[in-house]
Symmetry: C2
Subunit: 208 residues, 2 copies
């Protein structure tokens, strides 16, 4: 497999393949054609065949794909053979919904620490995690290293929180605050800010 040659759009689809294949393997399926996979995924069979061809030969004409082998390969490519530790900053509303989502998904992403600035929440327990004071983020000692930070705090606090998380050694950040973060190039950042996305959406709707 030559990773460098895989298009970004294919990589973007891998988590969807991963989740779909996981469900099919759990359901006891062994093989499935690209046409059948297309039904589940909402991706054209030709696109599926092209995407998967980057990772090796998993299909047999007339039989379909070896689902377990394919699942294992995509799991390995996505680095989901191991689990990833997450710290979440901000647990009001969106933060709490995220905790519920990850807890429910058993997705290989473990929340190991959670922080909030609201005194009424600090010390309480959400999904088995004791909420720590956001002010203690700098000093906190997690039992396990934190790989990824999720930021769901007030926009004005987002940059400082991001810097603290980087000091803690996170390698990637998902930012739900509508604030651009200025982080070192080696930190991967995913921006997930609804009002920005809506702004961008209506720009394109209006300019059609």
């Amino acid at each position: 497999m030559k990773e460098q040659k895989i298009p970004k759009e294919t990589i973007k689809r891998l988590p969807l393949y991963y989740r779909c294949l996981n469900r099919l393997v759990v359901l006891g399926k062994d093989t499935l054609s690209s046409t059948e996979l297309s039904e589940y995924l909402g991706i054209k069979p030709t696109q599926i065949r092209k995407d998967l061809s980057y990772f090796g030969d998993f299909g047999t004409r007339g039989v379909g794909y070896d689902l377990r082998k394919l699942f294992k390969e995509i799991e390995s490519i996505l680095n989901l053979e191991r689990s990833w530790n997450i710290a979440i900053a901000g647990v009001s509303n969106i933060g709490c919904a995220i905790m519920d989502l990850l807890d429910f998904n058993h997705s290989g992403f473990n929340i190991v620490a959670a922080f909030d600035s609201d005194n009424r929440v600090v010390g309480s327990n959400i999904y088995g995690i004791t909420i720590q004071d956001l002010d203690n983020l700098k000093e906190c000692t997690a039992d396990e290293p934190i790989d990824i930070g999720i930021i769901a705090v007030d926009p004005v606090d987002a940059r400082e929180v991001a810097n603290c998380l980087v000091d803690k050694g996170v390698k990637g950040i998902v930012n739900f605050a509508p604030t651009l973060l200025n982080l070192p190039k080696e930190i991967e950042v995913v921006q997930m800010d609804l009002t920005s996305e809506l702004g961008w959406l209506v720009f394109y709707i209006g300019h059609r």
Copy 2:
């Protein structure tokens, strides 16, 4: 202004400019230099000057940008002079957090209808909106046209819900479900699926 020439990355930043300028105007500021704006936005002054140059001449050397004029122009470009009606499908956890976010933001995005499949929630009132049965989405009559649909339902239901929303006349969809939607090309879709974003994040972390 030649819209066609504006780079996508600049457009992506416009909602952040918009929100920041809005706050500064409300705070009573009249002018601000690109260096001061840079502090607020976390964007380099050179980038700010370049971005804003696409939309006209708002700055005076030594004085700074005319904030109100700039704000009005960006508001117009983003089509935020008018308000946009939103229907939200799925109000458990993430959906509820979205309702809270939009209600709190007074952002020009109005939730005019909300749907859920959970009998315990249908008929209840969240942020002034009576939750309707998701099964009625097809037949529901909204008092006002729906511009945008937000999907926060189970992944297996997302595609059907999306089709219903398109039948209702929405022009854009924000999809929080980890499901690819197959919609007509004229419908703008923003995919906001946390576990896919996390999958993609750890791919890049692992392949550094």
